[in-house]
Symmetry: C2
Subunit: 376 residues, 2 copies
């Protein structure tokens, strides 16, 4: 059963030069067969299923390789161990190895068979542009907050945002199915108000409710959202499970899907891989990430890498729209478009709400600045 | 809508004394309303929904509090923000804050309302004892490896383990639904062989297949497992998503459920909380964790803390059986029972397979040592 389709996984390993070969080999075994190789009698399993150490390179060896304490280790894994299960992909890349505090997953290059098995974005950048009617400029996005507000207040807020011309209005990711704004009532109220605002202005603002829970609840929420005429949903793949996210992606009909990174920060998986490439392969049409200089600590370089991974050519897959977020402000619109270009969705939440009674004006300013910055 | 039911979440924050109060307050906001407080007009939301900083204590202040770089920060959160969704619990405890590299989640004390909403173990220690017919001694467990073996070989292996008297025989967690041993065929073959071995020996070994995938696949696998007479299943809550895990727990009928920690190691969540208390509340009847001195690096103290959290009184919930694993050996049986007592399940995999042709003997030795160490 010869098979040349291997996954290349790149890790950063913190250890000394004397230990690195043995550690790399141990990780290869851990991430594939998880047992002593001497006890495996089948040649083909030892030759193919067992992960291979393909390369070990020192990262910090200024005084010579013997002094390095940080290493880039490349393993190749048999793609058949993943089959077509996204959860199994995470398991094979970093399941047990996540338990090693000195190991980080930096990159994963998947063979064609696996790239074909994963859905990728159905809308992607072009699809979202068509959805909101913005063929060239960056997209604008905001969030309904805080959780605790009843459906009518969330709807009123959404109406204000829609009348200002904001493209995408999403639930704050903490708004799930709490008693103060149960999903069905909230979605009905907000969607109705956004549709009303669109009818008034001729706009095409889109509301994206946040989906949560186990499979049963997710399916029910998807059904309700569709019935209410919703055109887009938000979910947190690391919270609901990546396989559940992919199932959602496969079953959402003609709804766009946005991915939120909640619970993904501590994964010790490089953000460009997790929030860029993997979210894209799992089917996110846009991927929200914490931009540099906001409430979170990703560097500019990391954020560029996320956007690159989201948009760079990747087999036949459409590009995913990067959505920098996390304490962004209207004052930074020009800078963010300078940084990321127009194929981006700027997500500004708290900064709009801070304006209080002047919220409509600030939201309008957000929209206008983006248009000007993109030459529209 | 006054409500005294709050969750107490304890974090470790790495920062200097001058920054700690502001950081703690920022985290409280991040983990609840995620927007500037000045923009919240509803008093009750500011007073109840917004998380509160309850305590800030220096951890390392030998030379005085001004020198501390590590702090224990206690926040209280409104339990209604979680409602009854386990995924939302993870989101509220550590969703966005997981994106802060200097923050760890150490502990979470849940109010009665939430403890009631979560299932807890249906079998727990007593139920698993009854299942395998071991009323006093520690339980024995092993794993079918490596992935790549076809169903007949996995079944033969399981038969050997069952004839030796091992209580629980689980799939290696990497064995999912790969082409070399598709779930349905594997489960049928292994279950049949284990049942045959039990009939021969009068034993009560139990096979626990590993469930994986999104909701549809999980439900299908559960159905197949039940049809084949399987009495126990294994799942990885962090891989399939904790809400999916809880749904599985609620729908598994009379099957016991074991939890595996794959992908949970990097979470920056204290192992005792994640693998002990939370797995228990999510409904794991046994919780597998990497024991000290094996292939992983948890300390003895950490492992004790996991076992304590799994077994200590927790409202009305049954205790979960701790299952130390990860490179354990028959030689360590006495020591592990000395460490954890008899309310434990010892999981030894590779060490048995390493014996090659002498596998039946070593498996038998495993069983006998446990019996002797427990005075049975």
């Amino acid at each position: 059963m010869k098979n040349d389709a291997r996954i290349e996984a790149v890790y950063r390993l913190h250890c000394g030069a004397r230990a690195v070969e043995a550690r790399a080999q141990a990780i290869a075994v851990e991430q594939s067969v998880e047992m002593p190789l001497s006890a495996i009698h089948e040649d083909w399993i030892r030759n193919e299923v067992v992960a291979r150490v393909e390369a070990i390179e020192p990262e910090d060896a200024d005084a010579g390789a013997g002094t390095a304490t940080s290493w880039r280790v490349t393993l190749s894994l048999d793609a058949r161990t993943v089959a077509d299960d996204p959860g199994q992909l995470m398991n094979m890349l970093f399941g047990n190895s996540s338990l090693h505090p000195d190991l980080e997953l930096l990159d994963a290059r998947l063979p064609a068979s696996l790239l074909d098995a994963l859905p990728g974005p159905a809308f992607g950048i072009e699809g979202l542009r068509t959805l909101v009617g913005a063929s060239r400029r960056a997209l604008t996005c905001t969030a309904l907050k805080p959780q605790g507000l009843p459906p009518q207040r969330l709807a009123a807020l959404a109406g204000s945002f829609a009348r200002a011309g904001i493209d995408l209005i999403k639930d704050d990711h903490g708004i799930a199915d709490q008693p103060w704004a149960p999903f069905a009532q909230r979605v009905a109220a907000v969607q109705r108000e956004v549709a009303r605002a669109n009818a008034q202005t001729g706009g095409r603002s889109v509301y994206a409710p946040s989906l949560s829970g186990g499979a049963r609840r997710l399916a029910e929420q998807l059904r309700i959202a569709r019935e209410e005429g919703v055109r887009c949903v938000l979910a947190c793949p690391l919270v609901i499970g990546v396989a559940s996210f992919v199932e959602l992606v496969r079953e959402r009909g003609d709804l766009a899907v946005l991915a939120h990174p909640a619970l993904g920060g501590a994964a010790r998986i490089a953000p460009a891989l997790l929030l860029g490439r993997l979210m894209r392969l799992f089917g996110a049409d846009a991927t929200i990430f914490p931009n540099f200089g906001g409430r979170f600590s990703y560097s500019r370089q990391t954020c560029r890498a996320i956007a690159d991974a989201a948009r760079a050519p990747l087999a036949h897959h459409r590009p995913t729209l990067p959505a920098p977020a996390g304490g962004m402000s209207v004052a930074r619109v020009d800078e963010m478009i300078e940084e990321f270009g127009s194929d981006v969705m700027l997500l500004i939440g708290g900064n709009l709400l801070e304006a209080g009674d002047a919220l409509p004006q600030r939201a309008h300013e957000f929209v206008e600045r983006v248009q000007r910055a993109c030459g529209c």
